[in-house]
Symmetry: C2
Subunit: 200 residues, 2 copies
DNA sequence: CAGCGTCTTGATTGATCGTTCAAACAAGCG
DNA sequence: CGCTTGTTTGAACGATCAATCAAGACGCTG
């Protein structure tokens, strides 16, 4: 008994294909052959291809806990190590795809040059959710981070480093570029922890 | 007397259009109407649209000094300030485009999911040129940076922060996201300079 | 079973894409 | 002038795209 509704099938296929090939390079025909549906069924559920994208971005937004955070944080308790465990999750994705795919949100964000406002807001919301999760880790780290540090900005900087690192790893087809970005971020956190200790 | 050859006209138009709309969303027809050429003329110079892209990426690679570094570094002598002057140049680009366009190389790098090897190598070469310029600044900074710091990795981290910041500024349509990334990077450099002083 | 609303089928549409090519044109040379 | 070589013209081509819709199948209720 396969309960997967057409809608769910399309969303799942679109998540994979948009990640693999990007939004513009994924044709509606691709979605149809992957889901074994006909065009009429797709257009019965989604008014347009863009609405599929919106569905995908909403699914990412709703699923960040189960799809991203819980898998990465299952074995990790230390709040700062949680941050690097999450980054390591992205590393795994990069390696398993031979450095060809990166962050699905980041790729879409740069691919869509003049996105519909709803799409842009969903991209922004996904980023905001991600950095909010990091900021919770920073708050949990308490006095290990100097109190004068803007934790929101630092959380955003983690995303910055991740996205920039993913981009370069994909361009060079070499994880080492991602690893170096993470190493530099780690060095920054160590300097911050030292500074917090020194003024304690 | 306009000496601009068809080739130069196409490259210049393609630089603008690929930056504005991306590679896939720029049609050959767009290039033709912008350059007032006919399709045959374009295809006489470039075997395919992808060869136009290659020409653009080569132009960026060859022109990094005059187009990017010299304008940003004209008034700046301090090597570390040069780094932030370059970042400020990108900030200007972001603001002037109302946060819609970012780094032309980064956008292309994430837009092209399965690029031709020549294209990928040129994207990588452009990134490598950029970080090499930063690394020269870091070398010039001498003992202000702790000697045990991997200057190549740190130079790459500057690019990482720039690309990640640009991506978020564009997604949120707000330069503040870029500014915060730069601020965090600046904090990192200040911590490094302090560490270098402490062990001097 | 009949009736009705929901969902599915898949051929078809018109637009747009990158690319081609025979023909016309221009410039240099003997 | 005639001949060659290089360049431009622009209509046309086939492929592919997102989207449509009349017709049919399905499922529920009475």
């Amino acid at each position: 008994m396969n309960m997967a509704s057409p809608r769910d099938k399309i969303i799942q296929a679109a998540m994979e294909l948009f990640w693999l090939k990007g939004y513009n390079s994924t044709s509606v025909a691709d979605l149809l052959s992957r889901t074994q549906l006909n065009s009429g069924s797709l257009y019965h559920v989604f008014p347009s291809k863009q609405d599929v994208l919106i569905g995908v971005l909403e699914a990412y937004r709703e699923g960040i806990e189960q799809m991203l955070l819980e898998p990465a944080w299952g074995q990790v308790a230390d709040p700062i190590e949680k941050i690097f465990a999450l980054l390591n999750g992205y590393r795994t994705m990069i390696v398993e795809s031979d450095c060809t795919y990166g962050c699905p949100i980041g790729s879409l964000a740069l691919e869509l040059h003049e996105p519909d406002p709803r799409v842009r807001e969903l991209l922004a919301a996904n980023f905001a959710n991600w950095t909010a999760a990091i900021e919770r880790c920073l708050d949990a780290a308490g006095k290990r981070i100097p109190p004068d540090v803007d934790k929101g900005a630092l959380a955003q900087f983690v995303l910055t480093a991740m996205e920039g690192g993913v981009m370069q790893a994909r361009t060079h087809r070499d994880v080492a570029y991602f690893d170096r970005a993470v190493t530099q971020l780690r060095a920054h956190f160590e300097l911050l922890e030292q500074a917090a200790k020194a003024t304690a």
